[in-house]
């Protein structure tokens, strides 16, 4: 039981004190049982105040500390470190949140906010009175990282990790690496092609001894924790023996009777059940798509490298950290959204990029020579009614860049941009100015009055009420309408569910804190990189990928990690093994132990996450959670419920 508690109440420079009467809180708590020192501070987290606390602790012989301030998400670790530096155990510190759950939540009710703060601080004092010192759990960390996805983000982070001396396993679902970038030709902001970029990354990947690349692979299951994640990976065969591409494979592809839409070209072309990499993708080889192959055996007859005896393989890998770089999908417009699927010459920007890649001297679509192209922006983004409220960030620049590239390639093209205000932020503005200089026409619609695509006879028109020309109704005949579609989260990715990664409101994977911990997730040891986190262009994806590599590296570089000891513990004597906790634990941390005649539950230290699911189901009350013991919680409730 702590008898000399220090309590610090923070103004947070007005964030708290504008709504909470800090003086009153101070007056109410200074005489609480066990409180030896109470103080008010302007910024508890500021260095000067931290130093003051560090001095107070030995001087006043404090044995427990409470800081009433912001969310523990921000500063729990800050103040734990302060008490540790002053010689206390870090669990002798308890954090009281009177900002996010106090002043900010009740800014309309100052006296209520103050009452709330008083109760919260008293409860924290009750908790610290009963707090026990705990030692962190030390575990060893495997110096290896699994990277999920071999797009630009995945490969780039793998190379950085490998160079720093980590073993890296890349797990790519597709048979080829490159992700989306393999699909694009010229890229802003350097005009390198997707193919060049992927070639550079692929060469660095396969030439690095620390990297093992698995293509056609997926994670089946995972167990373990930061420091030691065990992944079961399934590797699907390509049914082709030699990874060298030969003339016979061309033959094999041409004789294959199965034809399906080729998703690489967004369905513009078809491919066979045996198919080879597109330029941009690597390695250069052919694979057989198991799902669509009928095993007719025609290919086998013309090519000796076909091998239907290849089997699915399962391998187990152990890594200290997992870096998820599973990328994005492109938005598919709804039926008849701006005429999509209904009017013949309406396509999306990604489709346009493939169309251009496949076109030669003229730009043609369905046999018609294209002259006027209309681009409709923000399709699937910035929706007032739909789900996607966000701006996709890459698309204004990508659309303008693609449009100007097309004009350079085919002189006869006219570009008409139906925007909602152009967002070529930063240095990308240059693409916008260039397009204007080249004579591209820009219009802007009102957010609640979007352009319309109409068909009259065999002609297609786009209609807009244009802000930029005094709200004139303009109508343009277009040979091709291009919907500038958004980036959306990848659908049904097994890894997200497998690792229980949380998603944000926009559906993309969610970081812990956009500014403090932008590439970490709430699941310890799992980082996120690139477009799985939200729309980004390549430079931004790579910055995020390298940041994730930095973080994953710091989890594994030292070979040892400290974990929070806030885990469940079983009173062996009281436990009668009814298996209720075993069934309740979402992390499989409960182990059945038999010692002679005694059967009881034990908690695995490194697996338990301290969620507390096992506590209420125990009929014998034989489980407690460190740092949240019954005594602590009961006294806290008493305080919160007091007048």
């Amino acid at each position: 039981m702590k008898k000399k508690i220090g309590v610090y109440i923070c103004h947070c420079g007005g964030n708290i004190s504008d709504y909470v009467d800090v003086e009153k809180v101070y007056a109410e708590v200074r005489n609480e049982k066990g409180v030896a020192l109470a103080k008010i501070t302007m910024f508890a987290c500021a260095d000067a105040n931290q130093k003051e606390m560090e001095a107070d602790i030995p001087e006043k012989d404090l044995d427990g500390v409470v800081v009433a301030s912001c969310s523990p998400q921000l500063h729990l670790t800050t103040f734990r470190a302060v008490v540790e530096r002053a010689g206390l155990n870090k669990y002798d510190y308890v954090h009281a949140n009177i900002r996010e759950q106090g002043s900010w939540a009740h800014s309309d009710n100052k006296s209520g906010a103050t009452e709330n703060a008083i109760h919260v601080v008293k409860a924290a004092i009750a908790k610290v009175r009963n707090a026990e010192s705990l030692e962190p759990i030390k575990i060893s960390s495997v110096k290896a990282v699994a990277v999920i996805g071999a797009g630009v983000s995945g490969m780039r982070s793998a190379i950085a990790l490998a160079k720093a001396g980590c073993k890296v396993y890349i797990i790519e679902r597709d048979h080829f690496v490159g992700g989306r970038v393999a699909q694009w030709e010229n890229l802003f902001s350097t005009n390198e092609t997707g193919e060049e970029i992927i070639k550079r990354l692929y060469n660095d990947t396969i030439n690095n001894d620390n990297i093992t690349l698995y293509t056609g692979a997926q994670v089946l299951s995972q167990s373990g924790n930061i420091g030691s994640y065990r992944l079961k990976v399934q590797i699907n065969p390509g049914f082709v023996r030699n990874s060298v591409y030969s003339y016979e494979m061309d033959e094999a592809i041409s004789v294959c009777p199965i034809k399906i839409p080729d998703l690489f070209n967004f369905g513009f072309t078809q491919r066979k059940a045996i198919y080879r990499n597109h330029s941009g993708q690597l390695p250069i080889m052919a694979v057989i798509d198991d799902e669509n192959c009928t095993r007719c055996g025609d290919c086998e007859k013309v090519c000796k490298d076909i091998d239907f005896s290849q089997q699915k393989k399962e391998i187990n890998i152990e890594v200290g950290s997992v870096l998820v770089a599973s990328g994005f999908d492109t938005y598919t417009p709804k039926n008849n959204e701006f005429g999509y699927c209904v009017i013949d010459n309406v396509i999306t920007l990604p489709q346009l990029k493939r169309l251009v890649a496949m076109s030669d001297r003229h730009l043609e679509y369905k046999g018609n020579r294209i002259k006027n192209i209309a681009y409709i922006y923000c399709v699937g983004s910035r929706q007032l009614d739909g789900e996607n409220k966000y701006c996709s960030r890459y698309c204004c620049t990508a659309a303008i860049h693609t449009a100007t590239e097309i004009r350079r390639k085919y002189k006869e093209i006219n570009n008409y941009h139906f925007t909602r205000g152009v967002r070529t932020y930063g240095k990308q503005e240059i693409y916008y100015s260039e397009a204007l200089k080249m004579g591209d026409v820009f219009m802007q619609s009102f957010d609640n009055e979007l352009p319309e695509v109409l068909q009259k006879g065999n002609k297609t028109f786009v209609k807009i009420k244009d802000i930029l020309t005094e709200q004139k109704e303009l109508k343009l005949q277009a040979d091709l309408v291009v919907l500038v579609t958004s980036m959306v989260p990848r659908d049904g990715i097994s890894v997200n569910d497998l690792f229980k990664l949380p998603k944000g409101r926009d559906g993309f994977l969610k970081e812990i804190h956009l500014k403090l911990r932008p590439v970490e997730t709430v699941i310890d040891g799992i980082t996120i990189a690139g477009c799985c986190q939200g729309p980004m262009n390549l430079t931004e994806s790579v910055n995020s990928a390298l940041s994730a590599a930095t973080k994953s590296y710091s989890y594994v570089s030292k070979g040892e990690l400290e974990l929070e000891p806030i885990i469940a513990k079983v009173d062996k004597e009281a436990c009668t093994w009814c298996d209720a906790c075993f069934k309740a634990c979402p992390f499989d941390a409960i182990i059945k132990v038999e010692e002679g005649f005694k059967v009881f539950a034990r908690v695995s230290d490194s697996i338990c996450k301290g969620c507390g699911m096992c506590l209420p189901v125990c009929p014998k009350d034989a489980i407690e959670l460190n740092s949240y013991t019954n005594r602590e919680i009961e006294e806290m409730i008493d305080m919160l419920a007091s007048d």
Partner: protein, 429 residues
């Protein structure tokens, strides 16, 4: 003199420099951080709340900074500047540094502020953007790090009043410039950006009309460590109730030689507008813009939120501002939606000044060539795959030294520079 070799030197102690220094130090490499100002923290430590989450900026910056200041693998030199960086042998850089005298012994100063009270000299406070005064003996600002006094020798009259009251005798007028020569394996440039000087656009009247302020001045008025206890217009101390923002001041404007978009101004203006509506519930806030560039994660939603709160957005180009006798301001602008010339009266105008390159870094490299891009930022020579790489092997960029960036982007860029630097150190160890 301390150690003269470090694994890495980080130049600039803004949020990007701090993040990079921490990342590298946390992996057991030692780092020297050079900051030319009296405190680390850069622009961010002076901000109010930050978009798009409206976190309190001080609350995010100060713990990072104090973690850095206390890190056993990090040494910080404030008030210091590089002189020259050259190659030393095959794999090292030789860096010469000048540590300017602070005239206060950092270790002994307790930040008691008695010197401040004693000092008879008052000059404009640069950390409050000249809106209030400070002494010649002063603590830069309340959450500065280190939070110790400094003597502004240019304005000091050497009267000795501070020396007399200082309880720890830490004031030392005999301090001189110190020169250091340091060897490092890698250099991270994180010298950040400069703000556009609005005096270059005379028709906006900045410097002439008292109630025309910059966004950074408004930022200070909204910050927890603000100069006044509410938002005031500088001309007469009146609480403003019709505030205008002029976006793209100095950006997207060939007439001032900057065609680039500054990437942060739309969002910080929208943020300030929201904060103003909270601080001054009766005030009208109007934002005059060309385009609203709410592109990042959570940004468009933040913009929609401002629309919902009643911030008035006008797509229009400002021709001219003129001042009335009572200090109110008349804006003449072309209203794009109607195509008509309009006039509007406001009692305070905030210029959302843009980002311009800080070209300090180029000065240090004389034997080696540090390339710059067309906007004079340090050039990213391989932006698609190695965004922190510069034209000099082993020299990396972090944050807004290579182009405009908000805080999340600066932090990611610093994360990227960190692993590049670590790879470089390992390769040449």
């Amino acid at each position: 003199m301390g150690k003269v070799t470090y694994d890495a030197i980080v130049v600039g102690g803004g949020i990007a420099g701090c993040e990079a220094a921490l990342n590298i130090a946390n992996n057991d490499f030692n780092v020297l951080l050079i900051e030319k100002d009296l405190s680390v923290g850069g622009k961010m430590i002076l901000l109010s709340k930050v978009f798009p989450t409206l976190d309190c900026s001080a609350c995010i910056t100060t713990p990072k900074i104090s973690e850095m200041a206390r890190h056993p693998n990090i040494t910080i030199f404030t008030g210091s500047e590089l002189q020259k960086v050259s190659k030393y042998g095959d794999n090292l850089f030789e860096v010469s540094i000048v540590k300017n005298p602070r005239y206060v012994n950092i270790e002994d100063c307790t930040g008691c502020q008695l010197c401040e009270q004693a000092c008879p000299v008052t000059v404009p406070d640069q950390y409050q953007l000249d809106m209030v005064g400070r002494k010649a003996a002063y603590i830069p600002f309340s959450i500065a790090n280190p939070r110790v006094a400094a003597i502004d020798i240019d304005n000091c009259t050497l009267c000795g009043a501070c020396e007399k009251v200082c309880p720890t005798k830490c004031i030392d007028f005999t301090q001189e410039k110190e020169e250091w020569i340091i060897h490092v394996k890698t250099v991270i440039l994180a010298t950040g950006f400069n703000l556009f000087n609005p005096e270059m656009i005379p028709r906006y009247g900045f410097g002439l009309y008292k109630n025309v302020v910059t966004s950074m001045q408004m930022e200070r008025q909204l910050a927890p460590t603000r100069p006044f206890h509410t938002v005031l217009r500088p001309g007469d101390g009146k609480v403003p109730d019709r505030i205008a923002y002029i976006l793209c001041t100095g950006s997207r404007d060939a007439s001032v030689g900057n065609t680039m978009c500054s990437q942060i101004c739309c969002m910080y203006s929208i943020k300030q507008a929201q904060l103003l509506m909270g601080a001054l519930p009766m005030a009208d806030v109007t934002i005059y813009y060309i385009d609203i560039r709410a592109f990042g994660k959570g940004f468009n939603e933040f913009y929609e939120q401002a629309l919902g709160m009643g911030v008035n957005f006008v797509k229009g180009k400002i021709g001219k501002i003129s001042e009335k006798k009572n200090g109110d301001l008349v804006l003449r602008y072309e209203d794009v939606c109607s195509g008509k010339l309009q006039e509007a009266e406001h009692d305070m105008v905030v210029l959302s000044v843009g980002v311009v390159a800080n070209q300090d870094a180029q000065k240090y490299f004389t034997d080696l060539t540090l390339k710059k891009d067309r906007h004079h930022f340090v050039q990213q020579v391989d932006p698609l795959l190695n965004p922190s790489k510069t034209s000099i092997e082993g020299v990396f960029v972090a944050g807004s030294v290579s182009g405009p960036m908000d805080i999340p982007d600066s932090i990611l860029s610093a994360g990227a520079a960190s692993v590049e630097a670590i790879n470089h150190i390992i390769q040449f160890s």
